[in-house]
Symmetry: C2
Subunit: 427 residues, 2 copies
Amino acid sequence: MREYGKIYRYLDCLRKFINMPVNLTAPDPASLLPVKGVELGFAEANIRKTNRKDLLVMRLAPESRVAGVFTQNRFCAAPVLVCKDHLAAGKGIRALVVNTGNANAGTGEEGLMRARRTCEALAGLLNIADHQVLPFSTGVIMEPLPIDRVVAGLPSCVDNLREDNWAHAAEAIMTTDIVAKAASRKIQLGGKTITITGIAKGSGMIHPNMATMLGYVATDAVVAQPALEAMIRHAVNRSFNCITVDGDTSTNDSLIFIASGQAGNAEITEQSADYVALRDALTEIAAVLAQAIVRDGEGATKFMTIEVEGGKDEAECRKVGYAIARSPLVKTAFFASDPNLGRILAAVGYAGIDDLDVSLMQLYLDDVLVAENGGRASSYQEADGQRVMKQAEITVRVHLGRGVAEATVWTCDFSYDYVKINADYRS
Amino acid sequence: MREYGKIYRYLDCLRKFINMPVNLTAPDPASLLPVKGVELGFAEANIRKTNRKDLLVMRLAPESRVAGVFTQNRFCAAPVLVCKDHLAAGKGIRALVVNTGNANAGTGEEGLMRARRTCEALAGLLNIADHQVLPFSTGVIMEPLPIDRVVAGLPSCVDNLREDNWAHAAEAIMTTDIVAKAASRKIQLGGKTITITGIAKGSGMIHPNMATMLGYVATDAVVAQPALEAMIRHAVNRSFNCITVDGDTSTNDSLIFIASGQAGNAEITEQSADYVALRDALTEIAAVLAQAIVRDGEGATKFMTIEVEGGKDEAECRKVGYAIARSPLVKTAFFASDPNLGRILAAVGYAGIDDLDVSLMQLYLDDVLVAENGGRASSYQEADGQRVMKQAEITVRVHLGRGVAEATVWTCDFSYDYVKINADYRS
């Protein structure tokens, strides 16, 4: 490795050209709908590199409700701790600030102070309270956040706050992402048009520790706080909690839902007739963003949907789905288009269901039944498996034969490029 | 991948020359001591490939005691099920038979019949009962065991049974292993010389599904059955259960202890003064063999010892050790000699200790303190971390600051070769 370092660094420059995401392109800026009450402003703050957008501010209307879910990693980053504090304070959130280039993780007490200093600086510019700001960071771990550069960049962000800046915002939060990730849609609720727009970043975890999945989904609907929190719990289990690129979870992962309260609809509670419609529309945008992260997985050449059904409960279905999705052997077999079924069965076998009866299990690749009765299906022809494995998008379906619960996991394959990207020096 | 398949297959032929195990060479046959009461015979049975030893028989003296531990994978292979049956029958084990080239896993009822047929054929040749034979298989999954070739090869194995065949035996069980794995030692117990010799195979999981770790450790000591079973439980937790190459566990993993009862010592029970000495000597051989499997890990360029201490119990230390050892990001950073500490801390953070206080944790690379108080250690210099990371053998030491329990995990790095080897077609 050491002697090839220079060559790999040159090759890495070519990554954006030779290593395309799986069926994913940057969104058309015109397709990203402004959300009334949500303004976005960005800056080039030189946090780690020059000549790139690396700082984003979102200003929210006073009526806004905000809900968040965060990484379960015990080594969670300073901004995650501050976000939880500020949400718990219940004073209302009026602004978000996101920097790239530095994750402010593994930075101890000093890191907490710098995350709070960021909030304080933005609060001063916007004339709101420190507790009304949520901070987010993504980038290298264990290096001090260059707080002076963050603070110096904030006025430019505030100067260009606009409701139609979503495409710039999606770019401003990118790290090793090859393409920006954003999606938008309108729905009708009780005679009112409701807009939903979301952005996300993440491409696996990550070239030189540019870790972290961040997702922000905003709507102009009027939503009660408990309803918004119920919606994000529902959505995260069907979106960001369904994806794995390499199984490593980050110190900074965050998903935020914003309801700016500007659409003039009757406030939506969990009892409202419109509750499910809005929840499902938010979930759909979150799922599109989460899948985009997998499609842009480091070195990814294939997108796999792992559907596990027939389980006793959702938790065990998820265990099986993740065991398959995380297995380096399964992921390299997909890269090679090799219908190496034993690897999938072995992963099911070690997923942790102690009383699994493998003779009741069925395994499908798309619609091809490949295994049942504890072994290869009698109808299975290797050519059929081979045909499916050559596709860029593949569904692996496992029926556990134990119950009626189900879960879905999305993942990508492991390629040479994954190792190359992640073995490269921090530079 | 598809268009490069041919080139990769050529390159793969070179693997044995360009991709050397980490500080591991084949054992000197003269160093492998015969164990009285244990004879070994091998054959070239053409099970999957020609011109290679692929069938091994071990014949044991009637006084032998045998204990085994097996994969926890629910998709365990037919021979594993038969081994458990035959050990449970309690009729005494008189022979073992190991084939490579085919794992007889994911083969349903027919696979069980073929594993039993193998035992029956060997029992007939040795004039013992079917239940006195343990069968083992390693190789491709989900293909029918070519039982006729196995049975046809058995007479040659029996014809060349010898106590000094350990080096051949180590070769006969190899699959993608680059070097044979074997170790031997003598100890004195109560005035008697006791010999211990063991062999193992495995190199990660695995070029075209040549999965499975197998280990066989034999001593000529007289050992009571309950004592031998206590010894193997002790040993497996300090050897084969401490290793991970890629985190995938196989359908066929097995470790067997044999005490042939020929050394003339007083029978060793759990109460014997000599119990601990013999247990520790068997454990040492098992650990050497387990480490050899990691050193020969697919594409491995480095050998890492993950020591986790200061935990509340051994289980949580093991969780943390495996989280680090299994992380693709940590493994690629080691390959790159990059002291990318954030990746190790992130792995500790998601290992599953919900009440971990990261501010009490310390992280060392060899003797270099790199992190404490939730962040980078103030004394840490990147040059020190870099120096350690360039070594071929590295110790990662994590102190959790919660208690006095500890655990050790051995692993290797992830290189380009890992992906190449595992993406290659079954051939």
